[in-house]
């Protein structure tokens, strides 16, 4: 095939490809002004399905309970269990808490990685990373920290989340690239996705507008 002819065809067809109409600049400007006013007066919220709110609430209560238990409770030796998610009611609770946490972390890291490509990072990532960092440390101190599969992942997540949480306000592109490299080199996202239980009941993943 002749490349020049093909390129010429591309240019000709390109002029017609999704040919834009005249820019509706006044209508769009009005919409922009309205939306900016609305965002200034309305606090940003994470929109979640009602079932997820319950799930996250339960997970939060559980994590607080774990923290209180560790501070106030007796230091009995941990029972030998193969997995954090033992066949007990506690196991179910840990599974839920871990699933919630992993889902939120996966959403955060995927969003962070995606936005990092554009060089425009939402400051909310930093706030969310701080929040999740606390949960990571609580989970590492909980029986979840004894899970041989989950523990290394939690430790890697702790490092990544700490790096994001400590990003300076005038963040340097190099800082962000190093974090992304760390995520990629340790396959954090794929390990996260593997660790997240399948099925909507097992994992009410965080969904929201950042």
């Amino acid at each position: 095939m002749n490349d020049d002819r093909f390129d010429e065809m591309m240019r000709e067809a390109g002029r017609e490809y999704h040919r834009p109409p005249e820019t509706p600049r006044e209508e769009m400007w009005a919409a922009i002004e309205t939306e900016r006013r609305r965002r200034r007066t309305t606090p940003r919220v994470i929109v979640m399905r009602p079932a997820w709110r319950w799930g996250i609430g339960m997970a939060a209560v559980l994590l607080i309970g774990i923290a209180i238990g560790r501070v106030l409770g007796p230091r009995a030796p941990a029972p030998p269990v193969d997995s954090v998610v033992a066949q007990t009611s506690d196991g179910v609770a840990y599974r839920l808490a871990a699933a919630q946490y992993l889902g939120r972390t996966e959403a955060l890291l995927a969003g962070f990685r995606s936005d990092a490509r554009t060089g425009v990072l939402d400051p909310q990532f930093v706030a969310q990373a701080r929040d999740l960092l606390s949960s990571t440390r609580l989970l590492l101190d909980s029986p979840a920290g004894n899970d041989p599969q989950l523990k290394p992942l939690l430790e890697d997540l702790e490092l990544v989340l700490a790096q994001i949480a400590l990003l300076p306000a005038g963040r340097d592109k190099r800082d962000v690239e190093l974090i992304i490299q760390g995520i990629d080199q340790k396959s954090v996202l794929s390990r996260l996705r593997t660790a997240i239980p399948a099925g909507p009941a097992a994992l009410p993943r965080a969904q929201g507008a950042i």
Binding site: M1, N2, R5, F6, D7, E8, M9, M10, R11, E12, A13, G14, R15, E16, Y17, H18, P20, P21, T23, P24, R25, E27, M28, W29, A31, I32, E35, R36, R39, S114, D115, R117, T118, G119, V120
Partner: protein
């Protein structure tokens, strides 16, 4: 008033400067959004969101690139994320194999090479389609595409080359039209 001054004023909250920046760039942003989205409603959404984010984050613009490059980076991010989120692009993103299948034996029924080429571009994977639209349709240079998509220049060239190879493959039965 030059663009640096406009940016400084817009950062200080001058609405007239914001409007001037919008007027200077909105056409190209909307054109790109429309070419990628293929429909007015989505293109408006993407354009509006681009400027809302840009004004919100103007403080983070350090002037290392041109404002247009920075704006187009936001625009492509908004558009590509939007297209993925809404999944509307999937209706257009029919498998290329399917497009190939359509090409065989239907030449008499669909002789318009240009419309076939448009359909084949629609059928490209989103990352290839983006580079084709930016380079071949909107006339961006590879350097501009690389800066906008935050990839290497070589990546942009390679993606365009792969995209064109897929297009040639999809339009193989028209080969005679450009071989001669």
């Amino acid at each position: 008033m030059d663009e640096h001054e406009l940016i400084a004023r817009a950062r200080a909250g001058d609405p007239a400067a914001e409007r001037a920046l919008y007027d200077a760039h909105v056409d190209r942003v909307y054109r790109l959004a429309y070419r990628l989205a293929g429909e007015d409603e989505l293109a408006r959404d993407f354009t509006q969101e681009t400027f809302i984010r840009a004004f919100q984050r103007l403080d983070t613009f350090r002037g290392e690139s041109r404002l247009s490059t920075w704006l187009h980076a936001i625009a492509t991010s908004v558009a590509l994320n939007g297209l993925r989120k809404t999944k509307r692009f999937r209706t257009r993103e029919t498998a290329l194999e399917a497009a190939d299948a359509v090409t065989v034996g239907q030449r008499t029924a669909e002789p318009d090479l240009k419309s076939r080429l448009r359909a084949a571009i629609d059928a490209l994977p989103l990352k290839y389609r983006t580079v084709v639209v930016m380079h071949d349709v909107e006339g961006y240079t590879h350097e501009e595409i690389a800066a906008t998509l935050n990839v290497e220049v070589g990546t942009s060239k390679a993606q365009l080359s792969r995209a064109r190879a897929k297009l040639r493959e999809a339009l193989a039965d028209f080969a005679g039209e450009w071989v001669t």
